[in-house]
Amino acid sequence: MTTMVTTKPSMWTNFSTWANRYRKWLFAAPAMIFVGLLIAVPLGWTLYLSVTDSEGSVRAASNLVGLSNYFEVLTDTDRFWPAVMRTFVFTGGALAVELILGMCIALLLWRPFRGEKWVRVAILLPLVATPVAVGMMWRLIFDPNIGFANQVLSWVGIPAQPWLSGQYTALPTLMFVDIWQWTPMVVLMLLAGLTSLSDEPDEAARIDGANSWQRFWFVTLPLMRATVIVTIVLRGIDALKTFDILYATKGKGGGSFHEVETLNIYAFGLSFDYNDYGIASTVLILFFLLIIAIMWVLTYRRKANRS
């Protein structure tokens, strides 16, 4: 009897001691296992598929073809390289406008004013709106026949534009949609950076007689460097992977001329419209490497600048 009584708590104590000693791994394990099973394994599989000629069904017999998929993709000037180009144009263009416009709006909001709360709410709404719904909304506004955009143009005497349905206007129009939705994100990030700045360097510059522009360019902006880089990294990753608004407005293959087909859209189409898994996986691996390379350059430069 007495042994029973003493062993029970001691088992609990043993477990508790054990759990506390290894709490580091105990706490981290579930998340790490999830990541391992749901991300690392599938990613490994994609890597494997990229060196096979898998097609039709993943379970169908496939042959190892070495690096020939990579050769085929990297020499494909018909679909792959234009898609790379569009990915860069879309991301670079949208990100540049978002940063400049975002900085202007952040500076406008920086000092307190009446009604500030309402302006903040207004800029938060596009940010949380469902991207597919946003795509549909702009599809109506940019409709060549009944859209509000062309109606406004007709008021000022500019001829109607094809917007989303034009071969050369579709990508810029979608960049505009991305800018509309994500500039608020940039504003919030930059505003968080601005509010955390100390006032002293700015005051010192003012006492030395610097005007507003000089104070912004030579004092505020250099102090904001870290925030700007974090913003570029976070927003850049998402912009490179943009899928929802492109697919919701132009559908499969990025339109009939592939005019908005970025790498993500291309890889999705190869996977689920053509079931060409080998080539699709190759495109995805290259896309992934590209993102990592860009992130590495940005963070590497950041460290180099700091030291």
Binding site: P42, R59, M137, A192, F272
Partner: protein, 293 residues
């Protein structure tokens, strides 16, 4: 401080007057600022208002340029979307998938973030955060076949798991920066008073982290609610989420614009209402790490 709330320090205003009086801005600047702010608000709000207005119009009115602003509002589109197209079902699906994927991600993500913050497990943190970089498409093909083998495609389980892929890195990222800024002293104090390490985490740190948990949870709910690509491939007829349902609206020959806009309003309004009431948390979550340097 890594988690920056948008509220600015209250001390600023009096200091301005007391120490170094800010040079008075010219009147022209004030007018410019008011105009610029008004334009900013219009730019971001007008399209949403337009969407809402169109959802109240008949399709005849939408095609009629003379009825841009003056028309007889009707709720027919909402009736069509909600009762004839079973949108209540899609709302239900979206809600459960978002809620459960958020709860499960919190359950495994928060302890992980705690361990990663307290033990400076930078490499493990990097592995989890990699999930934010990986293009989702590269996981979809393997997922599809793994889950098809387990007969899970088209069920809720696979949707919840796939949405956790988005939620988990987000939660870990936000909570690491939150725990980094929580002082250790209280936990040490609790241990002096006889709590174990885990006990101190559960009874002291966790209750103190409610704002961080709210931030991470709300954002992860929003991102799951808005997610389109995973549900597009992995959902079945009975588990379709709202974004997929809206997308399917336009696959027919002609677009029923009025109903499409009503559907868009139905999917965006709940999330906007949540955003209005939890603005502070959303902003602090989105800007986590913005000032880390």
């Amino acid at each position: 401080m890594t988690t920056t709330l948008p509220a600015r320090p209250a001390a600023e205003a009096p200091r301005e007057v007391a120490v170094a009086p800010r040079r008075r801005k010219p009147r022209a600047y004030k007018i410019f600022r008011v105009i610029a702010l008004t334009l900013t608000v219009l730019l971001f709000i007008a399209p949403l208002v337009w969407m809402f207005i169109a959802s109240l119009k008949t399709n005849v009115d939408i095609y009629d340029a003379s009825k841009t602003l003056f028309f007889t509002p009707t709720l027919d589109n909402y009736d069509n979307v909600l009762s004839r197209n079973n949108y209540f079902g899609f709302i239900f699906n979206s809600f459960w998938v978002a809620l459960l994927s958020t709860l499960f991600s919190l359950l495994i993500g928060v302890p992980a973030a705690y361990a990663m913050s307290r033990f400076a497990m930078h490499r493990s943190a990097l592995v989890v955060l990699m999930a934010r970089i990986i293009p989702g498409v590269s996981l979809l093909v393997p997922w599809y076949f793994i889950f098809a083998n387990m007969r899970m495609v088209g069920g809720f389980g696979v949707l919840i798991l796939s949405h956790m892929f988005v939620a988990l890195p987000l939660i870990v990222y936000i909570m690491i920066s939150y725990f980094d800024s929580t002082p250790l002293e209280l936990e040490e104090q609790a241990q002096v008073d006889g709590l174990t390490h885990i006990g101190a985490f559960l009874r002291i740190t966790l209750p103190l982290s409610v704002p961080g948990l709210a931030t991470a949870g709300i954002l992860s709910f929003i991102f799951s609610w808005n997610n389109f690509m995973f549900a597009l491939v992995l959902s079945g007829a009975n588990t379709k989420t709202l974004p997929v349902a809206i997308f399917n609206f336009v696959s027919y020959a002609s677009i029923d614009w009025g109903s499409l806009m009503a559907a868009a309003v139905v999917v965006t309004v709940p999330i906007m209402v949540i955003a209005l009431f939890t603005q502070k948390y959303i902003v602090s979550g989105l800007t986590a790490g913005a000032t880390k340097g």
